[in-house]
Symmetry: C2
């Protein structure tokens, strides 16, 4: 029994090595309904809503929007945008929300349209998750999607803080596109962090399996199906899954996401 | 625009085909915290707690236990087992629970020990998920793990009802061993169901990637690490990941799991 005990302890010591190296931790929250399991107060939280809020935020800021103000309701979007002469935009269930004339397509926000303007955005999942991260006193909040993958990774490595990758999902359901993005981040930054969570292991494994065929894989996703009837969506999806085509870092402060 | 609309509609119709075939649905709940998203009232719910509750339940019933009574607290386990001259057993945080002399190892429940006896079992995650499924009026509750994989699949196919694969996780956190088992089930039964959920797609993809090396993959799992210091655990894990070594179907009725 001593022998067995000894063997197990040494195996365990080996396994624990990353924890003992005092690297910051990285966890992946695969649904907003699981966010409460993680300590956000000393973490950088990455809000991930690939189809399409955080892709749209990257697109608007990359094309020169002054800032993006995320809000939870359509009336609030309309009111705030009126007061500051901004653009009220958003979606509900994937469609342009009633009462708004601009939606949640990253391709709407060209430089010609959005430069030097403020976008006031309300969405089904991403905006809600951001509010949850605020309520849970996140240390720092940024937003990420494939279009700004490198900017997110560079920031996480430079900050040297704990990280929680927060997937927005769909009304609390797990979705794969957000998890695939989490996996892409983990694949790039893992060596700088202690990564010891099955969600992160799963996310990275799924990303590594699909990374060379993300566009071909997309039609299998429930969210792709949910959105596929909308005009122009296929181009949206291409954009949302393409790394670094809008490589800015949206950082949240005082009610606004601003390109850092 | 008509053309584009037409193309998208026909693509969508193709994608919807399984839904229109009126096969029952299959969903995977990857954490107890997500169980409320699924309608259990017309579903067979499979309770999955691979390390180790549902492996232990399969083992005990396979080896001739009269039934397994799942309970939520240690005092309840002791009281009930006294009244019926049963075996009180269970774990907390992976260890034999204080006050009990039998734990949650499937290897404890040999035929010599458990035949014709009643096992009163309390565990951290599996028992709790079962109670949640009861509270949500599940139509039918069974339990599954690799040791009884085929019995679970055969039953799901024969019942022709909707299915929710309920992963017990670890204190609401996602874990991979339960999801891998869900993936194994999906891989076997998918053609009999409408499977249109990212959790199920992920589970099957992860299982297909690891199916020939489950034992080699196990040391990467957080739960493996959590339990690895316990004496005998490696043999437990081998058992828990081996298909059909205790191929019974535990069905829940009137407070008991009985081999059907």
């Amino acid at each position: 029994m001593n022998l067995t005990g000894g063997r197990l302890v040494s195996r365990d010591a080996l396994f624990l090595q990353p924890t003992m190296s005092h690297k910051p931790s990285l966890h992946t929250s695969i649904s907003p309904a699981l966010l409460h399991l993680y300590d956000l107060s000393n973490s950088v939280v990455v809000i991930i809503d690939v189809f399409r809020a955080t892709s749209t935020i990257a697109s608007a800021l990359y094309n020169g929007a002054r800032c993006v103000i995320p809000v939870d309701t359509v009336p609030k979007a309309i009111e705030i945008s009126r007061n500051i002469s901004g653009i009220a935009a958003g979606e509900r269930d994937g469609m342009i929300a009633e009462g708004l004339s601009h939606g949640n397509s990253p391709l709407e926000y060209t430089r010609e349209f959005i430069e030097n303007k403020t976008l006031v955005l309300t969405t089904t999942n991403g905006t809600r998750l951001l509010q949850m991260a605020l309520d849970r006193n996140a240390d720092t909040i940024i937003s990420g999607s494939f279009p700004n993958l490198s900017a997110v990774c560079d920031f996480l490595v430079s900050e040297k803080k704990n990280v929680v990758l927060g997937c927005a999902g769909w009304k609390d359901r797990f979705n794969l596109e957000d998890t695939l993005f989490a996996g892409a981040v983990i694949h790039q930054v893992a060596k700088h962090f202690t990564v010891h969570c099955d969600s992160s292991l799963m996310a990275e494994t799924m990303f590594m399996k699909q990374k060379n065929k993300l566009h071909e894989f997309a039609p299998k996703l429930t969210h792709y199906h949910r959105l596929v009837e909308r005009f122009g969506l296929i181009e949206d999806i291409k954009f949302c899954l393409t790394p670094d085509v809008a490589n800015v870092l949206p950082v949240y402060a005082e009610g606004k996401l601003i390109a850092k």
